[in-house]
Structures are given as structure tokens and as C-alpha cells.
């Protein structure tokens, strides 16, 4: 696992805009999970968004100004933990290009190198051991495409779930296929995106899971929204919130 010397004493937390506004409990749960491991968590106020929506829409200049504002909020060298594979991927993979030739290029590259996705950090850096306190439940795990393909986060969330004795992870048909969110894609091509979301929601229903887990708020909002529209009672949960709720001491 990890030895004590490589464990950072403090981290920064980049909550992301969707978590800040739509899933704040998930964000706070992520902070709690880190704090429980003895890590001091700093949440810089005024942080907002990684800039991905504008970047992916072709508005790099607008994205860069939002990204630049984040660089200013995260001084120092501590790791920056992000409860989203998509936002972590944006920063890690795309900030170097976004800031190519910009006076902040060096700062952007340094920032990119500090970013770690939450489950990746819990497993790979902290080596957490979880004790389950919840009732038995069957869950479906949906990995976001960017966690999978931009951050290489695939086994880490499943390793965390495997530590929970009461949790069964149901196999999901076409588990690595996109749920159709894709940021603005969902509203630019609602028909195609809706068809993808519908297939994903149907697969989740067929899995027999009672809870849908993901590490990305965008996917949760999309598949959860589709599940609700289908009249499903499956609960969408961010993995951070689920892990914290099941393992916290009451």
C-alpha cells in the first residue's frame, strides 16, 4: 500500500461547479472521507469551474479565463483532489494545451500535475480501509468516460465498493458505454443524447440495483434524470456520498 512518508498531510479540494450547486453533500462527503484519514483539507473559496463546458464547445478563450481564476485559488504544491473524473481529466489532460503559449502556461502545467481524482487518491495515495455500517444493498456502478479514458480511473471505485461487506455491485450491460451526457451535447443533440441516456437507464434497471453510483455529477444528473422520467425508483448517488454515509460513525 502506501507508507506514511508519502501520505500528504494536507490537500486542496476542487469541488467542481456541478457538485457545488447540485451535489454539495457529495462534495462534503469527499472532504469527510479525506479528513478521516488524517488529511487536512483546504477548500479555497471562490473556486468555480474547470472551464470544460466552454472548452468543449469551442470557446477556448472563455474557458481559459475561468481556468485561470482557478489557478489563482490553488497556490502551493499540495495535491488537488477532485470528486469528478471529468473535471480532473479536463485539468490534467487539457490545461497544458489550453494554456500553450500563455504567460500562465507553467502555472497551468504545475496545477495539472497536482490534480488527482478522489477515488484514485483514496485508493492509490491513502490506501483507505473502509468498514461498512450500512444495510445490504445492490448497486450499479457507472464509470464516467473521462474518469475511464482521461484519468485511467477504472478499478479504484470498485476496489472501494468491494471493501463494503453489505454492498453487491450488479453487473451492468455495456458498462463502459457513454451515458449520453457529454455536457452541452445533451442539449445540442437532445434526441441522440436522450436515446443514450434511455439505454443506460434501462441497463441500470435490468441490473436489479437499488442505487446507481457514479463518480461524476454530470452522469448522475443525466442517468438519474432519465431514471426519474421513466418512473424508476432507483436512487442516483455520488460514490463519495455513498461511501461516507455507509462508513461514518454515528
Amino acid at each position: 500500500m502506501t507508507d506514511a512518508s508519502s501520505r500528504p498531510r494536507a490537500v486542496f479540494y476542487f469541488g467542481t461547479c456541478l457538485v457545488d450547486l447540485f451535489y454539495p453533500e457529495a462534495g462534503l462527503s469527499g472532504i469527510r472521507l479525506l479528513q478521516r484519514e488524517g488529511v487536512r483539507v483546504v477548500f479555497p473559496r471562490g473556486q468555480s469551474c474547470c472551464g470544460q463546458p466552454a472548452y468543449n464547445s469551442g470557446y477556448a478563450g472563455e474557458a481559459r479565463e475561468v481556468a485561470r481564476a482557478q489557478l489563482r485559488r490553488f497556490p502551493g504544491e499540495e495535491p488537488v483532489v477532485v470528486p469528478s473524473g471529468s473535471c480532473a481529466g479536463m485539468i490534467r489532460r487539457h490545461y497544458p494545451d489550453l494554456f500553450a503559449g500563455d504567460p500562465d502556461e507553467t502555472a497551468a502545467r504545475a496545477f495539472a500535475n497536482r490534480v488527482v481524482e478522489l477515488t484514485e487518491f483514496l485508493v492509490g495515495v491513502l490506501g483507505v480501509r473502509l468498514a461498512d455500517r450500512g444495510a445490504p444493498v445492490r448497486v450499479a456502478w457507472h464509470s464516467s468516460c473521462h474518469a475511464l479514458r482521461e484519468c485511467g480511473v477504472d478499478r479504484q471505485p470498485l476496489e472501494l465498493l468491494a471493501q463494503l461487506s453489505g454492498v453487491t455491485v450488479a453487473p451492468l450491460a455495456r458498462d463502459k458505454e457513454c451515458c449520453g451526457f457529454g455536457g452541452t451535447f445533451a442539449v445540442r443533440h437532445p434526441g441522440i443524447s436522450g436515446a443514450m441516456a434511455d439505454d443506460k437507464a434501462a441497463a441500470v434497471e435490468e441490473s436489479g440495483a437499488g442505487v446507481l453510483l457514479s463518480g461524476d455529477a454530470g452522469c448522475l444528473m443525466n442517468v438519474g434524470g432519465r431514471l426519474a422520467a421513466r418512473g424508476s425508483r432507483i436512487v442516483p448517488r455520488h460514490v463519495a456520498e455513498f461511501l461516507w454515509e455507509r462508513t461514518r460513525e454515528r
Binding site: 469541488g15 466552454a54 445533451a186 443524447s193 432519465r226
Partner: protein, 478 residues
């Protein structure tokens, strides 16, 4: 020439495709099968990683000195007795083909599969000039019978199921008994085509790899129709895009292996033709003339941009389509372009203009599945974003056709406001406070929200933001 064709309408076509249940079932079934077979064929991740890195390196280093390799290819081909002609546009390429055919008084042509000929709309062009041009690849033959274009670059008739093909044959082929037996259907097509190979005045084919050091044209196929088309008729015309050149013979095996395994999950195809020139003195078979037509059609423009140049690495395997969640749901015709799917989303806007085909650029969730399976490492999602940026650019020059032409005034203003709010901490916190207290980000009925709620329940902001929870819980600030 013909009238200006109806402008492509991806939105309409994709909406129609989504509503076509049998079509979606055909694609879903076929793509699921192809993905599973490919995964099994690249079961060793280390071998895949290394081979792909080699393939990407060969293609990238070829493109880095493309003109040099093309000049060498031309010289070697000429030494081998292959005549070489250059075409900047598809019109020029069509005119060259017609001129060669007319010189021989050709009225009947058989064709092997060629996506470049699709770019040229060659069959229509030749028909208009009184020349019968018959597709001999089974899939191409099927769609030609039905007056369609390919819906996939490797499996052009993949949108049809067995029953649909059986009905088509029964309707269009004289003396064809109705059958849904695949072997029997193949035998019917074979009977028709076999005769045509011997009657044809000329054969036309594509090229998979053109080897510069030897002047050899490599053709990958499974049905033997490629060999028949290029070997039996007295004249062979090969069509290739400028990017198809490879410097050395030893570059071919890794690319060939990547191609067949990525495309159909075959370790090797049934036929691999290496065409070295026309029939030599004393030889008993082979064409008397071999012509090579090398087409640009916008490729030089792609080549001029360092990042977009990667578009030309493509070896036309179709894996990006097979793995695309959008393509799987709408099929190839909905793109209203010669090249569908993710690679088409790069090629078409660069060929026709990012302004005219901005709709194609938007039709990606950027999930990354295409880039993950691309055997030559084309960063397709990144390049889609790059082209979106070109389409929305406020001005300035670039090699990209139609740059800035899709910039939308209201949208660019919206992104400016978004950027202003989210890059100013106090403004962001004020906006977040308003959103959480009002329970919404935008007014109901606002177009992005109404597009969202067509299929999903509306998202509602939390009552208190993470910022506020962090304040409550005394989480330290920076």
C-alpha cells in the same frame, strides 16, 4: 453538370434514424459483435499498446515528409510501368478516369471497394457518361442494387439485415429465387459478378497502402473481387488519397495487422494483393495497363495544420464507428457524408467547411471511445474540440475551411457572460446564492433546459451550495 445537391441535414436525418427501430437494431447487433470480436483479437494490452504505437509512429513520420514520399512513389510506379496521375479535386479525378476509359472505348467497368471513389461519386459520374460501373464487393453490390451509399466504410451494407437483402435480390436480380440463406444469397451475387469480371473493359480499385520504395500498390480484401477487378480486365485504374503512401515495404505488415484486427477482428484477410505493375513481356495474365490516380480533395489543407494532420493517419478500419455510441444509434447514412462516424466528423467538416458541417462537430459526447480504439492513435475527440474551436472562432486566419463561420452571436455572448461570472469569485458566489435560493439556474422554458427535460427530469440546484456547507463546517479556506 448536375444541380447543386440538397444541403446535408444531419439533424433531420439523425432524428429519422433514431425513430427507425429495425435500423437501430441492425446497427446495435452488428456493432456489439464487432466490438466483442475486436477486443478478443487485441486481448494482450501490452502487445496492443506497442503495435499501436508503432502504427501511429509510421503514419506520423510518413505524414511529416509526405511530399517526398509521394514523389518517390510516383517515380517507382513509373519505373514499374504504372502511369501516375494527380488530381486536386474529385472533378479532376473523375475526368482522368473518364479519359483513360474513353481511350480504350470502355463501356463496362467492374469496381473493387474504394472509399476514394465514393468521394468522387464515381459510379454516378460514369453512368452519366454512358459507362456501366458495377460494384463487385458484396456489400457494395447490395447497396448499389438499392441505389444507396455505404453506411459504414468497411461494411457498406451493414444497415441491412438478411431479410432485407433477400427481398432486394428477389426484386432486382432476374431469376433469383427468394432465399434468406446467406450462402445462397452470396452464390446469387457471385453468379452475376463472375460473368461481369470477364466482360469488363476495365477494373477500378482503391489502394490500402502504396509503398514508395518499391512502387507497389497493396489491396486488402476478403472476397477475391479485388483480385478479379484488378487482374482480369485489360485495364486497371487504382484510386488513392495522397495519405495512403507508406515509405517502406516493412511498414506494411504492422499497419496491415492493425487494419484487419481493428476492422473485422481478422488476424489476416483472405486476400492481400500486391500490385507491382502491368502484365510483363511473356506473362500470361494481368492487366495490360495499370493507372494510379492520386487524389488530394482537401487533404493538403488538413496536412498544413500540425494537429489536424493526424486526420490523415487514418487507415480506414472503421473501429471508431464500431465503438461510437452515437454512430451505433443512428447508423452511417444519418451523417449525410461519405465518411460517417467519428473519423467522418473530422474529415467531412474539414473537406466541406466547419461552418457548413458544424452540426456534425456537435454530434459527439466526447466520450473518447473512438480515440481509445484508433489503431494509429488519432486523438479524435481532441481534434473534434479543435474543429469546434475553429468553427466558433471570432476571426483570424487558419488553414481550416469555414473558420469562424459557425460563430453564433447569442451563444458567444452567453459564453462571455458565463466566463465573466465564473472567473470572478465574488460574482460566482452571488450567482450561486441566487441559483440555490431560487432553485433554478435558468428560467423554465429556456431552450437548453427544455432540450434537457424532453427526456429527463429537470435538475434542481441544492438549497445550500458546497461553499456554504464548507463555511458551516469550518473547512479551511486557502
Amino acid at each position: 453538370m448536375s444541380a447543386e445537391p440538397r444541403p446535408a441535414d444531419f439533424r433531420r436525418a439523425s432524428t429519422a434514424a433514431l425513430a427507425d427501430g429495425p435500423l437501430r437494431a441492425n446497427f446495435r447487433r452488428a456493432m456489439d459483435g464487432l466490438m466483442a470480436k475486436r477486443a478478443a483479437r487485441f486481448a494482450d494490452p501490452v502487445e496492443w499498446r506497442d503495435l499501436r504505437a508503432l502504427g501511429a509512429a509510421i503514419r506520423a513520420r510518413t505524414l511529416a515528409r509526405l511530399p517526398e514520399h509521394l514523389v518517390r512513389l510516383e517515380a517507382r510506379c513509373r519505373e514499374n510501368g504504372i502511369s501516375v496521375r494527380w488530381a486536386e479535386t474529385t472533378e479532376e479525378a473523375n475526368a482522368i478516369v473518364l479519359e483513360i476509359l474513353r481511350r480504350h472505348g470502355a463501356t463496362r467497368v467492374v469496381k473493387g471497394k474504394s472509399m476514394v471513389s465514393e468521394e468522387m461519386h464515381l459510379n454516378d459520374f460514369l453512368e452519366r457518361h454512358g459507362i456501366e460501373s458495377l460494384e463487385s464487393d458484396l456489400g457494395e453490390y447490395i447497396i448499389q442494387l438499392d441505389g444507396e451509399t455505404p453506411s459504414h466504410i468497411i461494411m457498406p451494407a451493414i444497415h441491412k439485415n438478411r431479410g432485407q437483402i433477400a427481398k432486394l435480390f428477389g426484386r432486382k436480380i432476374r431469376d433469383a429465387v427468394y432465399t434468406e440463406d446467406v450462402d445462397a444469397l452470396t452464390a446469387i451475387a457471385r453468379r452475376v459478378l463472375r460473368r461481369k469480371f470477364f466482360e469488363a473493359d476495365a477494373g477500378i480499385s482503391g489502394v490500402n497502402f502504396a509503398v514508395a520504395e518499391t512502387g507497389t500498390l497493396c489491396l486488402v480484401e476478403n472476397e477475391g473481387n479485388g483480385r478479379m477487378s484488378t487482374h482480369v480486365p485489360p485495364v486497371h485504374i487504382a484510386l488513392m488519397g495522397v495519405e495512403k503512401v507508406v515509405p517502406r515495404l516493412e511498414d506494411v505488415p504492422p499497419l496491415y495487422s492493425l487494419l484487419t484486427r481493428s476492422a473485422t477482428a481478422q488476424p489476416i484477410t483472405t486476400y492481400f494483393n500486391m500490385i507491382g505493375g502491368p502484365r510483363g513481356p511473356g506473362e500470361k495474365d494481368g492487366p495490360r495497363e495499370v493507372h494510379l490516380v492520386i487524389l488530394d480533395n482537401g487533404r493538403s489543407r488538413m496536412h498544413a495544420d500540425r494537429a489536424l494532420q493526424a486526420t490523415l493517419r487514418c487507415i480506414r478500419c472503421g473501429a471508431c464507428m464500431n465503438h461510437c455510441p452515437v454512430y451505433t444509434r443512428i447508423g452511417g447514412h444519418a451523417y449525410e457524408a461519405v465518411y460517417p462516424g467519428p473519423i467522418g466528423q473530422l474529415v467531412t467538416p474539414q473537406t466541406e467547411g466547419v461552418d457548413r458541417r458544424a452540426d456534425l462537430l456537435e454530434a459527439s459526447s466526447l466520450c473518447g471511445a473512438c480515440g481509445e480504439v484508433c489503431p494509429v492513435g488519432i486523438p479524435i475527440p481532441e481534434l473534434i474540440v479543435r474543429l469546434r474551436t475553429e468553427a466558433a472562432a471570432p476571426g483570424g486566419a487558419s488553414a481550416v475551411l469555414g473558420r469562424g463561420g459557425a460563430r453564433h452571436r447569442v451563444e458567444s455572448l452567453a459564453w462571455r457572460v458565463w466566463s465573466t461570472v465564473l472567473s470572478r469569485p465574488r460574482l460566482y458566489r452571488a450567482a450561486a446564492l441566487a441559483a440555490t435560493r431560487l432553485g433554478r439556474l435558468v428560467p423554465a422554458g429556456f431552450p437548453p433546459l427544455s432540450a434537457w427535460t424532453r427526456f429527463r427530469s429537470a435538475p434542481r440546484p441544492a438549497r445550500r451550495s458546497l461553499h456554504e456547507l464548507a463555511d458551516d463546517e469550518r473547512i479551511p479556506d486557502a
